[in-house]
Symmetry: C2
Subunit: 184 residues, 2 copies
C-alpha cells in the first residue's frame, strides 16, 4: 500500500468510478498515468481493498466500476489517522530561474510568459470547476463552507487551495516579468 493506492481509495470514498475516471480525478492531487493505475487497481482488488462490477456501455467501451470494500474503508480510516508526508514539488522553471543570467532577457521573457499563460489557464479551469460545483448545489450558494461532516467539505477546501495557490503563482510570475529589462 503506497500513497497512490490510498489516493485511489480516497477518490472511491466519494463514489464508485472506473479506472479511467479515477485517473482523471486523481490528476490534480497525485498525477499518475493509466499504465500505473490499472495494474494497481488489479492488485487492490486482489487484496480486497476494492471490488468491481462490469458495466456494459453501448456508445462507449465497457468499463469496470470500482467500489470500496469494508477492508478498503478501514484502511482509509487508519491511513487518515497517520500524519501526512511533506509535500514535494519539482519545477523545471525554478531551476532555470536559478541560472537565468545565462540567457538573454528575451529568453527569460519567453520562459516566464509561457508559465504565466499556463497559470492563467489553470486558474480558469479551477474557477470553472468551482462554478460548476456551486451550480450543481454541491457547495452552498451563500459562499459559506459545507459542514465538516459533509463529503463536500474536502472538495470545498481543495478548490479554495487551488484558487489561492494559482493566484499567488500568477502574481509572482507577473512580478518577475516586471523586473525583466523592457523589450525593444
Amino acid at each position: 500500500m503506497n500513497t497512490l493506492s490510498y489516493g485511489l481509495l480516497s477518490i472511491l470514498a466519494q463514489s464508485s468510478f472506473s479506472g479511467y475516471d479515477l485517473m482523471l480525478r486523481l490528476q490534480p492531487f497525485w498525477p499518475a498515468k493509466h499504465s500505473q493505475i490499472y495494474p494497481l487497481l488489479a492488485s487492490l482488488e486482489k487484496e480486497e481493498y476494492v471490488s468491481y462490477e462490469h458495466v456494459a456501455q453501448s456508445d462507449k467501451p465497457d468499463k469496470k466500476v470500482y467500489s470500496l470494500t469494508d477492508k478498503g474503508k478501514q484502511a482509509l480510516r487508519d491511513w487518515l489517522s497517520e500524519p501526512a508526508a511533506e509535500p514535494v514539488t519539482r519545477d523545471e522553471l525554478m531551476l532555470k530561474a536559478y541560472c537565468l543570467s545565462n540567457t538573454d532577457p528575451e529568453g527569460a521573457r519567453r520562459l516566464f510568459s509561457a508559465r504565466l499563460e499556463y497559470y492563467r489557464k489553470r486558474l480558469r479551469q479551477h474557477e470553472d470547476k468551482a462554478a460548476l460545483l456551486r451550480e450543481r448545489g454541491e457547495f452552498p450558494m451563500n459562499g459559506e463552507a459545507p459542514p465538516f461532516e459533509s463529503i463536500r467539505f474536502g472538495s470545498y477546501i481543495l478548490v479554495e487551495k487551488a484558487l489561492r495557490t494559482t493566484r499567488s503563482n500568477i502574481e509572482w510570475t507577473e512580478w518577475a516579468l516586471s523586473l525583466l529589462p523592457l523589450p525593444e
Copy 2:
C-alpha cells in the same frame, strides 16, 4: 541528460561545489538523495559536462569539487532556450483532505495543525535565508531587485517565490483550521 542533470549544472553555474553541497542546494528546487547525485556527477564528468578537483580537508573528509566545463556551459544555455516543463506537486495532505469526512474533527485538526507548523518552520527558514543574503550584500539593501544580468537575480526572485508561496499556504491552512468544529 535529464532534468536532474541540468539542475546540477544550474547550481554549478553560480560557483563550484562538492556533490554533497550540490545535493543540499538542489533540495528546494529538485529534491534528490545523494545516491542519485553521486553516480550522475560521475557520468556528467565522463561526458565532460563537468570536471572536478580533489580537495583535501583536515577537519572534514576530503571532497571532490565540481566545476562547469565549456561543454557544460553550452548545454546549460541550450537548455535555457527551451520551454520549461510543467511543475509537478504531490501532496499527501491533499489526498487526505479529499476524503476528510472519513475521520473525526480531532484527526482533521491534527493533520492541519501539523501542516501549519511545517509551513511556519519553512517560512522562518526562508526569512532567515533572505536576511542572510541581504547581510552578505548579495541583495541590495534598499529592497530593490539586483539587475537582471547579475548572477543574484535568480536567487532573488526564487527567495521571493518561496516566501509568497509559503505565506499563501499558511493562510490557507489557518483558514481550513478555522472551518473545523471547535475542540471541546
